[in-house]
Symmetry: D2
Subunit: 111 residues, 4 copies
Amino acid sequence: MTERLDVAGLQRRLARFAAARDWEQYHTPKNLAAALSVEASELVEIFQWLTPEQSQQVMRDPDTAHRVADEVADVLAYLLQFCEVLGIDALAALAAKIERNEERFPAPEGP
Amino acid sequence: MTERLDVAGLQRRLARFAAARDWEQYHTPKNLAAALSVEASELVEIFQWLTPEQSQQVMRDPDTAHRVADEVADVLAYLLQFCEVLGIDALAALAAKIERNEERFPAPEGP
Amino acid sequence: MTERLDVAGLQRRLARFAAARDWEQYHTPKNLAAALSVEASELVEIFQWLTPEQSQQVMRDPDTAHRVADEVADVLAYLLQFCEVLGIDALAALAAKIERNEERFPAPEGP
Amino acid sequence: MTERLDVAGLQRRLARFAAARDWEQYHTPKNLAAALSVEASELVEIFQWLTPEQSQQVMRDPDTAHRVADEVADVLAYLLQFCEVLGIDALAALAAKIERNEERFPAPEGP
């Protein structure tokens, strides 16, 4: 697979993956939003009993590091599939949001 | 801002945004995972009482469309900030996951 | 309203409340589970940037205390409505779970 | 165990259970809110790909019925533990909320 490792390319691969398995019938926006939140909670679960300090060390243990990266992949996968079915450009939405936030929360002046 | 609209560029902008406001103290992996799940739930909230069919029409109403795109931006923002503090490459994690899934769930043969 | 303040009584009041407003059509188990998770996330949101120590002080501020109690009420309301539509006895389910956990995680012997 | 099957009794059993295992150190309000939301998401996960109609039939399969009741127990357990550490009366909070909602959403007049 020589497709470039970018958001648009990954989004297309996920769409083809679902279509080839006839999973599109399950991929309503409502279901994909729920699946996204379930995966986000699986990420929270890794951290739920950790102190703030312990949470900063999770990548030191290879098994936990793998589990964290795997949940990140699941969250991103459902986010992109959600965007695919609704025709949303996730990167453009984020860029627009950052611009609004830069106006809404002006950075303090430097010294 | 002429920075390219790609994941790495947006991730850097988010990091600078947080640093300029001294928000990094709040951005433990544990807190960012929680914030990500909160934003994912705000996306679910838009859909919670809709039928599957209604959920497919949410982009027809401009206000709802804006709200959906805004929540997508929030989810992606916290996901990228989470990846930033833990040194995770979200796109590489997703590509690896897709490859594992292609082996785990082989597509049915065509006719 | 002289009905006793117990789980069964509150569950009946919630059922009558929904029936009187013709909201039962929205109260599928799937939708109620989603609504429950959305309310649980609104509780998380109150705590997301707090340190563990700050999180223990949230009831000192009357506004935050009210907000926390209100989210607790929302979580419990959706949990009881979910149990109502599926015929689940939440207290019996919890008692059974505690008994299983007492076997699964034996308490350490005292001195 | 002859303790009555009511919310207050179950809340005390959960408190003793945690104390006997020295788990109270993990039970900050922040952590318990996160754990509650994780369990709520495990309930959502059972329903995430089901149609509304399928979601109404989940108790027909004994294994799924057990899984659903088990997640209900987990949600209620963390909700009561959260209330325990913050001194919140969950039933009183819900009763107050129902009363506010009865004023906020008046039922339509009967014929």
